[in-house]
């Protein structure tokens, strides 16, 4: 059809469709891409042009501490989330359809609840006079309330809770594609339940594991709400550090440098992920 048409006619035919794309494209360029580019620009130009902001990655101990704290918490979160998510995805992939529906509901429901509401709920559960401490003291198990919040433990609980559904979905997608006869075949050949799992099932889910880890890690890196509330300002992760630089200390150079580094790290991770697995298949092809 269009193959034989001259270029001008092709352009004429596609012009109306480009007009449909235009409003969203203009909004996105003017009010998203442009301000984002400006963040990168500012990081190189304020307070003076050059790489002085980026030098702080090497020279400033405070900046390094924030990055190390962030990476530590993100790695812990990713590992715990993957273990929990794997168990759920495994049970999900072998459950009968009726049970599966309930499990899906439980996994997807938290996704519909505001991050802020969930962080607030964790505050009520974990704080000094929270539900857990009250219950433990009431039962006479402890005398002093445990410190469950406003530290890295609290942040990890809140983040793991937020991330689990995002890990389950790609893991489940990779398990669903496994031929259900493989594990029984291995068992039939004399493998124990654990051996069959370790040498047959687990290697086949490797793409799902990689995709889930990278996704969870990326989401964790730039996470703001949960660490800010459950960390109580005592454990600074990068997103909250950026907010402090801009809104409280008005140090645009440092703030935008940290934001740019965060963005670059995420883009690099996504790029690496796309080289290893087909991103479109990560969530089971939509």
């Amino acid at each position: 059809m269009a193959v034989a048409a001259p270029p001008s006619r092709v352009l004429g035919a596609s012009l109306p469709w480009w007009l449909l794309i235009a409003p969203a494209l203009i909004l996105m360029l003017a009010f998203y891409a442009f301000p984002l580019a400006e963040v990168l620009w500012i990081s190189f130009t304020e307070p003076e042009p050059g790489l002085s902001n980026y030098e702080r990655l090497i020279t400033s101990e405070a900046v390094q501490r924030v990055w190390i704290t962030t990476l530590r918490i993100c790695i812990i979160t990713t590992v715990i989330t993957l273990l929990a998510g794997y168990v759920v995805a495994y049970a999900l992939s072998s459950a009968p359809p009726r049970v599966q529906r309930w499990m899906f509901l439980f996994i997807l429901l938290p996704l519909w609840i505001s991050v802020l509401v969930r962080a607030f709920a964790w505050v009520t559960i974990l704080r000094r006079q929270g539900l857990i401490n009250e219950a433990l003291i009431g039962a006479g198990l402890i005398d002093e309330p445990l410190r469950l919040i406003w530290n890295e433990f609290g942040i990890a609980v809140g983040m793991v809770h937020y991330m689990i559904p995002y890990a389950v979905l790609p893991l489940y997608a990779s398990m669903r594609d496994i031929d259900p006869r493989l594990v029984p075949a291995a068992r039939g050949l004399g493998a124990s339940r654990f051996e069959a799992f370790r040498s047959v099932f687990l290697p086949l889910t490797r793409p799902g594991i990689i995709a889930a880890s990278v996704l969870v890690f990326i989401f964790s890196l730039g996470f703001y709400v949960t660490p800010a509330i459950l960390g109580g300002g005592r454990t600074l992760m990068i997103a909250e550090y950026i907010k402090l630089q801009i809104l409280d200390l008005i140090r645009w150079g440092l703030g935008t440098m940290m934001a740019s580094t965060l963005l670059i790290a995420i883009v690099l991770l996504l790029w690496a992920l796309s080289r290893i697995v087909d991103i479109r298949r990560v969530f089971g092809s939509g």
């Binding site: 449909l20 969203a24 984002l36 580019a37 049970a91 439980f106 969930r118 907010k243 965060l262 939509g286």
Partner: protein, 262 residues
């Protein structure tokens, strides 16, 4: 059939513990909102609606709820109208250029809000849009577009492109083809996109810290301040109001799908 591929009892117990952990925060909020105490706790002696009364008679909470609603509705309209048309245009053309457009449209769910917040804060200072409805609606609308593009693109994948060609071939204008042929067929995708976009704005808590300060105080913003300043049980009521709005939307989505498939 041999079911030895099924998860063992240990795996099942672990999986269900994780699922209960997922549900825990949602399930404690409702009883806490009904507490008879003056502080955040489970009800001691009786259930009480006192904090609901406090919420629904508080001018501050009500005005926040109202502002959140107005902003969410307006930004949803913006995101749905532009996002749907964009997805249709990209679907029809399917060239390398439109692939780039699609990736661009997904940026807001890849880039952390905190990074974008700096840029838009700076731009709004310059354009004098800080703390205005226009400013917040534009920001929530633009960041809501990805959800619409994703759901509409998915819906279009099941739409037979020959229907569009047939309509055009029989002399229908682009406008007529859109209104009578394409849009009705992808309506479930549009509705889902609208619901995602609405909830995105309704729950948004990071950008609002930067682009609004006094005049605009959305529900998440007021909760944020409350958590950091004084934890009183009215907050649990506000949390329930936010959850109920999301669940209501989810129910509308399910209902629309069911109605569609009847």
């Amino acid at each position: 059939m041999d079911r030895s591929a099924q998860a063992g009892p240990v795996a099942n117990v672990l999986a269900w513990s994780v699922l209960l952990f997922l549900l825990l925060p949602i399930t404690v909020i409702f009883p806490i909102s009904l507490t008879d105490q003056r502080f955040l706790s489970l009800p001691y002696e009786a259930l009480s609606l006192q904090h609901y009364v406090a919420f629904f008679t508080s001018e501050r909470w009500l005005s926040s709820t109202w502002q959140s609603l107005v902003i969410a509705l307006a930004s949803t309209i913006l995101a749905v109208s532009t996002g749907t048309l964009c997805a249709i245009g990209c679907w029809k053309l399917s060239t390398r250029a439109t692939e780039i457009v699609r990736v661009l449209m997904l940026l807001p769910i890849i880039v952390p809000s905190i990074v974008y917040a700096l840029g838009i804060y700076r731009l709004w200072i310059r354009l004098d849009l800080l703390d205005t409805y226009t400013g917040v609606i534009l920001v929530h609308g633009v960041t809501g577009i990805p959800y619409v593009v994703i759901t509409v693109t998915t819906a279009l994948a099941n739409f037979d492109p020959r229907l569009e060609q047939a309509a055009r071939g029989m002399g229908a204008s682009l406008r007529q083809t859109l209104a009578w042929v394409i849009l009705p067929r992808i309506m479930p995708g549009i509705v889902s996109g609208a619901i995602f976009a609405f909830i995105h704005s309704w729950d948004e808590a990071v950008l609002i810290l930067f682009i609004a300060s006094r005049a605009l105080f959305t529900l998440p913003r007021r909760m944020w301040d409350g958590i950091n300043e004084n934890l009183d049980p009215v907050m649990a009521v506000a949390a329930c109001v936010m959850i109920l709005a999301s669940v209501l939307m989810l129910a509308v989505d399910l209902w629309a799908r069911r109605k569609r498939s009847e």
